[in-house]
Amino acid sequence: MKMLHVVNKSPFEKSSLSSCLRVAKNDSGILLIEDGVFGALQGTSVTDEIAGRSADFKIYVLGPDLAARGLSEKPIIDGIEIIDYEGFVDLAVEHGAVNSWL
């Protein structure tokens, strides 16, 4: 069963996303929420690390958290899908377990 990894910490401040990318099994889902959404942006100091693994995982980012931070119009890493809260619920249901990287 696939696992959904949920990351809510800024990749510039915490190593949660790096650890998740290192430990998560290929084909897992990774959902970026709250300050974790910064990890979806193009052109940052952590873009290469995340873009380099985007083929190994299905990566999602929560749209309302991007919008709150003024980032809706900013370019997102190729392959990352923007979802809403309903999509969040669907992912939680579709995956066997949810791992929140607090």
């Binding site: 910490k9 309302p64 958290d65 709150a68």
Partner: protein, 130 residues
């Protein structure tokens, strides 16, 4: 004997620097820091603000919090001018690491490199980091 009320603060004026290093909304630090900035300004202190690390996200324009049920306090940064808080600085390195530029910001700021920021920090009486 009633004391006469004087709304002018006549105590000592110190140089306060608020160092904002956290993104808004994910934690309460940014909003709390802003509250203290306004209180300091009410006491006629010499206030400067620095935005560095994830703190630069506090002043990114076009924030819309309708979808997360949290108050959008980013407009308050634009009101700081009305409280004579006009010295806003952003660390260049922090902006660049996040793929941002001055055009992405909602208030006029002075962009400083870390060396200039170091000088600014050193010239303060009080530094409050959040």
């Amino acid at each position: 004997m009633a004391e006469e009320f004087d709304d002018e603060f006549d105590g000592p004026v110190k140089r306060f620097l608020f160092v904002n290093r956290k993104a808004p909304y994910g934690t309460v630090y940014a909003l709390e820091s802003l509250e203290v900035v306004l209180i300091s300004a009410a006491f006629d202190q010499d206030v400067s603000l620095v935005f560095m690390d994830d703190g630069v996200f506090q002043i990114v324009k076009d924030q819309n919090t309708d979808g997360i049920n949290i108050k959008n306090f980013s407009r308050t940064y634009r009101a700081l001018e009305g409280y004579d808080v006009e010295k806003l600085y952003v660390e260049k390195e922090s902006l660049e690491a996040r793929g941002l530029s001055e055009d992405d910001l909602l208030v006029p700021v002075e962009v400083l490199d870390s060396k200039a920021l170091s000088e600014l920090m050193n010239a303060q009486d009080v530094v409050i980091s959040a």
